[in-house]
Symmetry: C2
Subunit: 570 residues, 2 copies
């Protein structure tokens, strides 16, 4: 049996476009002689559709798409992810399903059993668990068809009390197929391969695995669909961060899956194909390693591109301070959208150092994007003059610092409104974590590009971008970080050294260590308590942050839900 | 057996304060001769603790609280809500539990079976389902102890495949106790009473029910704890929107629960005690009815007060435009915090009508709060002058309108930063729904007070506040709504009439009707499509809105999760 894996970039709710893509892939697979083409989880509507699933109209559209696609399945069958209505009056109204389409009609349906409801996932919000297990017969195979999480109930730390494959294996399947929507993080490739290989070995079965590619606002899907043999050896690893369709020959039921042609393995900075990194446990060291940084680079390009294209915009604007954060976002945006679509705005104040403008101008020349220089001096003065009756002779402080940031945010939004740019946010994860930023000022923007990168990762990615040619002037990378909102200000006036801060933050945010554990790992107790207090007290700011491209296993945003008005470690 | 119900206002993560409250209530209940005192769901940590539950340290604190409280249970027993660790390696790591404490120790524990995971609830994110059912014996009773949602699996539209009481009733219980965290909405009292009564009647058992009171950022708990007899008759209905402790006599196992003294029933604008409104189905008419508006009034006061007190702040600032939204928020805030703690800022521009300032000044005099008048003219001019090289001679448009709103937002934030006020947001639900507001302008603020009130509800609440004395000048209520950002502007230039708009929005947002259904209910198809398109295209704005006090069954915020970059009805 020849099976095509179709790894596509869907657009949530855009039924027509998704359907067209799927139909094109069916024709392409048929042309390559495939008997079966496999699409990803919830392919008809895109993933994650979230509360759109609660509208009957949305589900009607999904059902209609399944029917229209089934009608085109002649001479080739398809496995297709879509929601389906639960016919039982008890339980949630929907299932997260995989349809088998053949001879112009729906032949059967398999429903997802394990519903990820943690981090960025909310599936039990919408779907009922399947409790009924049947292999499906096709092309001489008995296929154990599962959906994403169904294969992820690790034996080491099982999150669920049942494992669908433990049930399905009793029915003597000859092949596993898993359709997924498995979002990217810098360590996810190894985690994914390890889990899938463990399934192959445990059940002695080959596996075909299809993922999404492309991004949906903050969630980035990296593709990397796989064909594994019954020993878990990688026979094919599909493209990362782009659409791909490949055909694999499964052979007779008792044989392994074989690739039609050697599959490409192109993960930037990764180990060799098939060689899987030892553990998948996250560590601070791994998040700044070259491998992670190279993948993050690819992921952010995907995230920026799809955010603009799927929103129907093509032009970006951002404020450039002369610091490394905005420089990095500028370089990434020019690479993602083309420098002709990017406007960098330099907005010096009386506190800006000479090198800020000079370095920024040098950088926009290096990149070839447009720029404007707009002084905020008059605006800032007019705010101070207007507020003089209230502020009187009170000393310069946080209010005046924030005024400058908000004058800049307002200028950027004015240009965005006037000329149809989307404003990109340039805050990093360290700042977001401790609340070192101005709401409605530098925290403005439609999308946060590097909000899931700690400051030390920002430096690492900047150096990575410069590896072949200088895109970010060296002096921007080496200068001392400063917000330049008061004379001689440095980030280190308010914050611990970033190398230290980021390690503490990583242990608290990514690893969820306790105060005591962090202290024991070698940090001063008062410092740790101060940092955790800053994190927990700035939840109110993070609530209003733009969506953040997620590249780590734990990003701020929908995957991290902390009470705003609480009193805990604060 | 005498049972005290302790309805308290907890603070998330504030273990010490919560524990002190609980211990005080235990002493008070003991002094009143109670054999047992019952506290609400997750009382030790407050509800909802969200991802704090993922830290071992947080759970350690919960366990320590349970131990310390158990130690004080001598001569009186307690039922107490707290998370507990799942001893089984399979499944989620926690249970949502009710502990029975007696003779200085934990006697037993009951775990929650049905885990609400919809709207604002995320319980399956953290907790494993209980599958093991046992009544607990205490004071001669066999108690069927359940936790909130466990009693909510309606026979009409069951969301779960099992019902814990169907299992427990086989063990011949004589009394039901339910500990809850059941948030307010304007129709929730009737829904709650109806569901609880249905349980009494179905199982022929009396019921004691304890809820939270007070608010946790956006979620408001209204109290209203209940004692019902086996026929579902209300024997006691505790205070709404404040702490309360009442003792009920359960008598022998075969008798009904009897109140120690007649319990108060004080729901503003409600039907008589025990009289339950017919249906609980939401309708647009019900959301602007006096009953709903009266309750919303109480809820918003609670929401404002607790947001400030639990954040450790006491002073509020807000911008006053002369329109009804800011006027209503001002009146509510003065009532909640005291007029001496409120600063109203009038920020006229060249487009402000004379009556805007006049009406606002009249209102602040009526209320007795402080005010400032700060013209934005110079600031606006300096923005335009600064942007002249970029804007050139392009006609006045949205960019210029937004500039004014952002100048105001920046002024308010400057005063907030300088003097320690929290800025209150004054956007309403109709504006939020269609994106009629300026990000980083009038959409600023730490808390959105009326963001869950449609414009027509804003009018109704304003009239309601004026029922005994004029707090909002009549002309503010009767004037034509306008953002006053360009000459002669009216809301109706961009938006349908609010009476029409709100009805369409209600059907789409609250009732999740399809386009076709809304059109069939009597609205023009093009208009409906235009409105739904506006709603779906403005998701990116709502993502950055402050937390909104939730008073309806479907508020924007954590209870409504829609993709930002989608393409659906848009």
């Amino acid at each position: 049996m020849k099976v095509a894996l179709a790894q596509l970039n869907y657009h949530i709710g855009n039924f027509e476009e998704n359907r067209e893509k799927i139909l094109r892939a069916i024709r392409q697979a048929a042309a390559q002689g495939a008997d079966l083409v496999v699409f990803a989880e919830l392919a008809v509507c895109g993933y994650p559709p979230r509360d759109f699933l609660e509208w009957d109209e949305f589900i009607d559209h999904c059902e209609r798409s399944v029917e229209l696609i089934a009608a085109e399945c002649r001479g080739i069958a398809a496995i297709l992810g879509a929601p389906s209505r639960n016919p039982n009056p008890k339980g949630k109204k929907l299932y997260n399903s995989a349809y088998l389409l053949k001879d112009g009609a729906v032949v059967t349906r398999v429903d997802k059993s394990l519903l990820p409801t943690y981090d960025v996932f909310d599936e039990y919000r919408y779907f009922e668990h399947n409790r009924d297990y049947s292999v499906i017969e096709f092309g001489g195979h008995r296929i154990a068809l599962t959906i994403c999480e169904d294969l992820w109930n690790s034996d080491e730390d099982p999150l669920y009390v049942t494992s669908p494959m433990d049930e399905l294996v009793r029915q003597q399947p000859s092949l596993m197929i898993n359709i997924a929507a498995s979002p990217f993080d810098y360590a996810h490739r190894e985690a994914r391969i390890k889990v899938l290989q463990a399934n192959c070995r445990k059940y002695g079965l080959p596996l075909l695995y299809v993922n999404h590619t492309g991004s949906q606002t903050e969630l980035i899907f990296d593709g990397g669909s796989l064909a594994l043999d019954r020993r878990g050896r990688i026979l094919g690893e599909m493209h990362y961060f782009r659409e791909d369709l490949q055909v694999f020959e499964t052979g007779p039921a008792e044989a392994a899956v074989a690739p039609e042609a050697p599959g490409p393995v192109e993960v930037a900075g990764t180990t060799e194909p098939g060689k899987v990194a030892g553990g998948t446990e996250a560590s601070y060291a791994s998040c700044i390693a070259d491998q992670a940084i190279g993948r993050i680079h690819q992921a952010l390009l995907t995230g920026i591109r799809d955010y603009f294209h799927k929103s129907g915009f093509d032009k970006a604007i951002l404020g450039m301070s002369g610091g490394i954060d905005s420089a990095l976002v500028l370089a990434l945006t020019c690479e993602a959208l083309g420098e002709e679509n990017v406007l960098a705005v330099l907005m010096p104040s009386e506190f800006s150092s000479d090198h800020s403008v000079r370095d920024s101008v040098e950088m926009v020349r290096l990149l070839g994007c447009k720029h404007e220089i707009i002084s905020i001096r008059d605006i800032y003065d007019s705010f101070l003059k207007t507020l003089k009756p209230q502020f009187g002779d009170l000393p310069f402080g946080l209010a005046e610092e924030n005024l400058q940031a908000r004058a800049r945010g307002t200028l950027l939004m004015a240009l965005s409104n006037k000329f149809g740019y989307i404003l990109l946010n340039t805050s990093n994860k360290s700042e977001n974590a401790v609340g070192y930023g101005t709401l409605y000022g530098d925290m403005c923007g439609g999308l946060s590009v590097i909000g899931d990168l700690y400051k030390t990762q920002v430096f690492a990615l900047a150096r990575y971008l410069n590896r072949s040619r200088e895109r970010i002037p060296q002096q921007i990378i080496t200068k001392t970080p400063s917000a330049e909102l008061r004379p001689g200000q440095k980030d280190s006036d308010s914050l611990p050294d970033y190398a230290l801060l980021d390690q503490v933050l990583f242990q608290y945010i990514e690893l969820k260590k306790t105060t005591e554990e962090i202290v024991k790992s070698g940090f001063e107790a008062d410092l740790v308590r101060k940092i955790l207090r800053m994190v927990n007290l700035s939840e109110y700011k993070r609530y209003q942050v733009p969506p953040i491209l997620r590249v780590s296993p734990k990003a701020f945003g929908m995957g991290r839900r902390i009470p705003i008005v609480g009193k805990y470690l604060s």
